[in-house]
Symmetry: C2
Subunit: 388 residues, 2 copies
Amino acid sequence: MREVAVIGVGITKFGELWDKSLRELGIEAGFEAIQDAGISGKDIDALYVGNMSSGRFIDQEHIAALIAEQVGLSEDNIPATRVEAASASGGLALRQGYMAVASGEHDIVVVGGAEKMSDVHPNEVTETLAASADQEWEAFFGATIPSLYAMIARAHMHKHGTTREQLAMVAVNNHHNGSLNPKAQFRSEIKLENVIKAPKVSTPFGIFDCAPSSDGAAAVILCPLARAREFTSNAVKIIGTGQATDSVAVHDREDITTMAATVKAAERAFKHANKGPKDIDLAEVHDSFTISEIMAIEDLGFVNKGEGGKAVENGLTTLDGDIPVNPSGGLKARGHPHGATGVAQAVEIVTQLRGKAGERQVKNSAIGLTHNIGGTGGTAVVHIFEVV
Amino acid sequence: MREVAVIGVGITKFGELWDKSLRELGIEAGFEAIQDAGISGKDIDALYVGNMSSGRFIDQEHIAALIAEQVGLSEDNIPATRVEAASASGGLALRQGYMAVASGEHDIVVVGGAEKMSDVHPNEVTETLAASADQEWEAFFGATIPSLYAMIARAHMHKHGTTREQLAMVAVNNHHNGSLNPKAQFRSEIKLENVIKAPKVSTPFGIFDCAPSSDGAAAVILCPLARAREFTSNAVKIIGTGQATDSVAVHDREDITTMAATVKAAERAFKHANKGPKDIDLAEVHDSFTISEIMAIEDLGFVNKGEGGKAVENGLTTLDGDIPVNPSGGLKARGHPHGATGVAQAVEIVTQLRGKAGERQVKNSAIGLTHNIGGTGGTAVVHIFEVV
């Protein structure tokens, strides 16, 4: 297999973007990435798009072809493929794009992620997101994604002694990082006491424990490492990729305080990269809820199982901590347009490894990791990046 | 890139399957393919699933992980990825599975296609299918997929002299083939006069010019050609794959009587296979409407542009014609569970090349082709298969 590099990145502002359609968001992120890579549309061989539910959010399927057309890529009739695994759709699109280049099938591949969630009523958003859980055995009976994660959080608190305050600290830290990111949906710092006193969503979660629904898009340009220098002097290598599946229904798992899909996906990505958790300088992880980030840093091997809450409390994950986590603000503060998230994570890591992250720049970062989850852990995908 | 073989196939009966859920259909086709390949679940490295609109048809996204879990594959936490490009979803899933094996990332890959369309009201089916057209510029203004294809048919009749009778002959031929296929949704022969007199859907189409909405699933097992003999003595090679995109909206095309996506996808697949249209012994093409098959045989290069209707009239495409088309009955008679169709086509070609197609067996077939369209031609994907 050929080595693969990222040669350009682009991302829209995330938020409630009432004046932009999904295709406009896709184009904006795509053009930024194309300009960043210094390529022209004619250079592009294929497009992959991560998207969770455009069929329900905007009554539109077939969106990879649609975005290709809008960007003008249908003139060359390039292949355009949408990939879906709920909120892990972006990470999976990146993985498919990676394989398309690694296999030799394509040279220059654009991987985009996009979601437009604010065109439907919030109740419809909740119902649509519940379609990433098991409809017949969970959602049909009234379970929502926040309620399932709340159950996971309660189990983690009970089994591992994780505290309400530790959960809240995840939100405080990610809002701090988001305040330094011009593309973030939420750019205000928040206080611990306000997280805890916030209106409840599903105990123990208040609204500040939950990532928002967002509109937004992100894109990266991939090419064979051997060709990267033709286009840019600051390419970033993808040195590891791993994907794994677990039962979609939470009740089918032996232990709900760990995500087997994350553990396996990380194991595969680390093996591929010939690296371990200790080699990682910074990470973008899937903090759809505050508990998700605590479980992620455990399941990725940054700390032992059960010690994630304490690690957050001790500052492991802050911008100047040992392993800065979610320097972008994460899903919590940068925002969470579901299909875009996995690609946005890659954009952030590449930006950081290039030393171009401005006020939120993590010092001495050479190797970064992204971690993207589908639903409540039915899918996980991990990528590892290294400066060239 | 490694050479890739199909070592097993499985398919459910297609139809209105009120007593089976999507996951049950996926499992049924998957198990049949696994048994056919003589592998065990433990051998499987990854799953790809083609599905168009499970989010709208059954309120369920994230279905690749869901099917993996139900088949027991989540025990090994294998990657499971859904791919979507409207009615070309199955063909695209096959292509991603192909790349996963060709790249060396995975060895044994299951490619499934599944759709469950009969759980919602027919009006909702029509609206959902219209989401494969351009929602903002076509569907929002009332265009449906049958009406868009009807416009294409009228243009083809006007420009190339294709007749109402020639359209009807496509349906007659495919119903004949379907009558010989135990898994087909429609197993009755129909008469030309009944096709023409049938209740109108959108002029010139009556109901017999339109493929049905269906429930069903299909699966193929891929592995590196070098390993195929470990499992089976009747493997079939995939010697060509090509995918292409065109404008999703019909009105953006220079000539609506040809599908540029089909032309380009075929060109790429033929180049990859180092073959041409004359080398093809039989084909499964995307006859979502009678006009689609006529355009397909032109755009694939079996006949010149404008001569498709005449070729059908002259018997080119019958089971004992020069290039038998849709021996399975096609979308028209075998049925059209949208995400399953592209995989079902591969199942039929493999079955034919193995000489196991029973009463509908095409004689002397060594090389076969599949052709799968998304929407009204925004996506096309072509695969070419050869006996080992």
